[in-house]
């Protein structure tokens, strides 16, 4: 189902209203003239119904709204966590970006982001199929080293740093993708074991080592 951008935004607004405890959305007065085609589009697809200028979800519409809000919040996460675009600019870009995440792109992004549960503003991201599948398979995903508890182990997935110097230090210690790593202690500094050696790093460095738990 391919909706127009405007229709998706209406679904999102309706979803936000339902999160706030309302089961309807007041139609904007201004939108009545000229008639907003997006409402018609949604009504035609039987996603919403309009009674007394109030918009209500139909059951299928609620599902579609969930997917739409999920794409929006995933877009926010992507822009902030990976592309490092924040603030108002990030919000604006996320509004444009979300519409590109249809047709399975969202589940790919979701997997890269390791199935995040909340958006940068702390709101819930409704879990998608990929999240449920990962949960049933017990795939713990890729997390920064800081998320490992003492005695937990994993394999180094990648190192994400903009500092070449730091990357070299880590590589010199033997912190390379594919290496087995075991957490020994995570306070006051992160102490981990690689093979038969132990290393201590501060949180700045630990944050940049990503580990596939298991």
């Amino acid at each position: 189902m391919k909706l127009s951008d405007r229709a998706e935004e209406i679904l999102e607004a309706l979803w936000l209203a339902s999160e706030a405890g309302l089961n309807y959305l007041e139609m904007d007065e201004g939108e009545a003239f000229p008639p907003d085609l997006a409402y018609e589009e949604l009504q035609r697809l039987a996603l919403i119904e309009i009674r007394e200028r109030r918009v209500y979800f139909r059951p299928e519409g609620r599902e579609e709204g969930k997917r739409t809000i999920r794409r929006h919040r995933l877009a926010e996460r992507l822009l902030m966590d990976i592309l490092n675009i924040r603030g108002t600019r990030g919000d604006e870009k996320a509004c444009q970006f979300e519409h590109l995440l249809r047709e399975g792109v969202d589940s790919k992004i979701c997997t890269i982001l390791n199935h995040p549960a909340t958006c940068p503003h702390g709101k819930e991201i409704p879990p998608g199929d990929c999240c449920l599948e990962a949960r049933t398979k017990g795939d713990l995903g890729v997390v920064p080293l800081t998320e490992l508890q003492a005695e937990e182990q994993g394999e180094i997935a990648y190192i994400q740093t903009e500092d070449n110097q730091k990357l070299r230090k880590l590589m010199a210690m033997g912190v390379l993708p594919g290496t087995e790593i075991k957490m020994i202690q995570n306070f006051p500094t992160y102490v981990f074991q690689l093979g038969f050696s132990e290393f201590a790093v501060d949180s700045q460095m630990a944050r940049e080592i990503f580990v596939r738990k298991g």
Partner: protein, 661 residues
């Protein structure tokens, strides 16, 4: 294995005609120094690498094939250096073409450390691999087929337990009859090989390292190697640089990581069937004790116990108390000084000259007595304790426990070492700030040591001085601690530069070897005396001169100019001036004033605070100049002086206002 390396068959060896040099390289904590001592005996010289503050240790070894010079290089993880120490290690490799390179590795970490061996072999160096600490590896269930490793690497491989000198004979033999395969390098992926080839073919000059290694280092954008190639290739360098830039751009972001992964792959091919693990790591008793030492809660009482018994009981009570009484009080005051005084009176007809040798600040009665009678016992006990801790592997654990606290004042956990030493001797501590990674950290540490860390000599007298006055000790300690924190916080914010990053290898705990500790302590004391004794002699001459022309009178007047603002009497100025030359002497001067009833409790506390904060002794200032440079050292001096008198004046006003003392 050799076939697939695709090299030219044959053997090669270094030119025996040259004076033989043997370089020890490898990671920190793999037993290089133990091997060095085993090869050379205890005869070593520690010297600064030119233009740096990194120590390089050299010694002589007698081999069947003739004498050889052994160089113990600073720890290095890869041919691509990161820290100043690693840069020095590589420079030594570059400057000694034809030298034998002994790569020492820890058998327990064979897999990780072989990546460096591969780099040394591919650089065309004459490498011997020493697989050390085999006993512990065996205990951990690691089996290594050394003969197979030797065949695959194409260089001599010697298994060793150097602390028991096992493998030393085989190593000597390998040195005497050195031979390595002329065979070509280990092959990387076709892409990396292609990149190397494109750079390699442009070289025209001749180098210590192979062109292959140089090409790889250039592709990793190694500035120092770029300079070296520029000097050697002259005009031709422009072409090389352009090609390197193009390739680096093509492989942007991933070249170093790719290369590391390739080497990891090569190593895993080499150790296939050579290295067998029969147990899982990290479950034995040693590992459990090691966990205890870094436990965030249990680690702290352990630290307190170590400091109490090591520093307070052993260095403070035994070294600074018992031994000093014995040597200074017994030997110097009782025997040496009277003898010299008598002899001088007989031999030297001029009283002024006699005073130079045996007077109040005489070379013998002041400088030698002070250096050997007071400093030496403290330093010997301190270094003994220090070497034991160092060899046991405790310091990295202390550093990781304290990193978070130190971050607040702009330092990393590594700074724990110089700051702890500061309570022993500020001069030594200033030298040890070398181990800190950035100049920013070194400056902060130097400043804090100069300002707010009282050395053992000063600490002793001040505690004795204030102990009898109720509350004065608390006021003093709280003020100094507050200044330490505030200045630390402030400099961390104000000084430009990046926040320190903390990363450290935690070596396994080891039972220290007595012989090793003695050798280390001995060479440290030797170094210490060479560094400190000339300063003492110089100070002694200056003091003698100053006393002769009465320059102290003017200095005292100058100091009083400031001290008036602290409500301190003119007599106390002498204590401050002397304090600069002998840190404890200043405090002792206050002690005299107190006995004479010149200072009341408030003045006493203010004077003690100011004196503690005020610039250390002249020896420490000299070392500050040497280590940090004239600009930084002078700035620190000025800052410390201002803070000392400023805080003194503030504390005085606060005490008057509150009426505490």
């Amino acid at each position: 294995m050799r076939e697939c390396r695709g090299g030219i068959p044959g053997k090669t060896r270094p030119d025996a005609e040259k004076t033989r040099k043997i370089l020890l390289v490898g990671n920190p904590n793999v037993g290089k120094s133990v091997l060095f001592n085993a090869l050379t005996g205890a005869y070593s010289t520690v010297s600064n690498y030119p233009g740096t503050s990194v120590d390089v240790i050299t010694g002589k070894a007698k081999l069947r094939s003739g004498p050889a010079e052994i160089v113990d290089t600073p720890g290095i993880y890869s041919l691509m250096p990161i820290t100043g120490e690693e840069r020095v290690a590589r420079r030594i490799l570059l400057e000694n073409p034809g030298a034998l390179v002994i790569h020492v590795i820890d058998a327990r970490n064979l897999e990780r450390m072989l990546a460096m061996t591969i780099q040394l072999i591919e650089a065309g160096l004459f490498v011997i691999l020493v697989v050390n600490i085999l006993d512990e590896a065996k205990r951990l269930g690691i089996r290594i087929d050394l003969a197979a490793l030797e065949r695959r690497l194409g260089i001599p491989v010697v298994g060793a337990v150097m602390k028991r000198k096992e493998g030393l004979r085989e190593l000597r033999k390998a040195i005497d009859s050195y031979e390595r395969d002329l065979a070509g390098p280990f092959p990387y992926s076709s892409q990396v090989e292609g990149d190397i080839g494109q750079v390699e073919e442009l070289f025209k000059g001749s180098y210590t390292l192979s062109r292959r290694a140089l090409a790889l280092l250039l592709l990793q954008r190694d500035e120092e190697i770029a300079d070296l190639v520029r000097r050697e290739e002259k005009e031709n360098y422009r072409i090389i640089e352009t090609r390197v830039r193009e390739l680096a751009y093509l492989r942007r972001g991933t070249f170093q990581l790719d290369l590391s992964l390739e080497r990891k792959r090569l190593v895993s091919e080499i150790i296939k069937d050579v290295l067998v693990y029969t147990k899982r790591p990290g479950d034995d008793l040693a590992a459990r004790i090691s966990r205890l030492t870094i436990h965030p809660l249990l680690g702290i009482p352990l630290l307190a116990a170590i400091i109490y018994f090591g520093i307070y009981q052993f260095v403070g009570v035994f070294g600074a108390g018992v031994l000093v009484d014995l040597i200074e009080g017994g030997l110097f005051e009782g025997i040496i000084n009277p003898w010299f005084e008598k002899t001088a009176r007989l031999l030297i007809p001029w009283p002024l000259l006699e005073e130079l040798f045996t007077g109040e600040y005489g070379l013998v009665t002041f400088a030698l007595r002070y250096a050997f009678g007071i400093i030496l016992p403290i330093v010997v006990t301190f270094f003994l304790f220090f070497s034991v801790l160092e060899d046991s592997g405790y310091f990295p654990r202390l550093a990781l426990l304290s990193d978070r606290v130190f971050k607040v004042i702009g330092l990393s956990g590594r700074a724990v070492l110089p700051l702890v030493i500061g309570f022993g001797c500020g001069t030594m501590a200033t030298v040890v700030t070398r181990t800190l990674e950035t100049r920013r950290e070194r400056i902060i540490a130097t400043l804090l040591i100069a300002l707010a860390i009282p050395c053992s000599a000063q600490l002793g007298v001040i505690v004795a001085l204030l102990a009898q006055t109720k509350g004065a000790l608390i006021v003093w300690a709280a003020t100094v601690a507050l200044v330490f924190l505030l200045v630390g916080l402030l400099t961390a914010r104000v000084l430009p530069g990046r926040e320190p990053i903390f990363y450290l290898e935690i070596p396994p705990l080891r039972l220290p070897q007595l012989s090793n500790i003695l050798i280390k302590t001995l060479s440290r004391i030797k170094w210490y005396l060479l560094e400190i004794l000339p300063i003492f002699l110089l100070v002694s001459v200056l003091m003698w001169f100053g006393k002769t022309i009465d320059v102290f009178h003017y200095l005292t007047r100058g100091a009083y100019f400031f001290l008036r603002y602290l409500d301190l009497p003119e007599e106390s100025a002498v204590a401050f001036i002397l304090g600069f030359f002998r840190r404890d002497y200043g405090a002792a001067g206050l002690y005299d004033l107190k006995s004479q009833g010149i200072l009341d409790p408030r003045q006493l506390a203010v004077a003690a605070v100011t004196l503690t904060l005020f610039v250390p002794c002249v020896a420490q200032f000299m070392i500050m100049l040497k280590e940090r440079g004239v600009m930084a050292a002078s700035a620190i001096f000025l800052f410390v002086t201002l803070i000392a008198f400023g805080v003194g004046a503030l504390a005085n006003q606060a005490l008057i206002y509150t009426g505490w003392l």
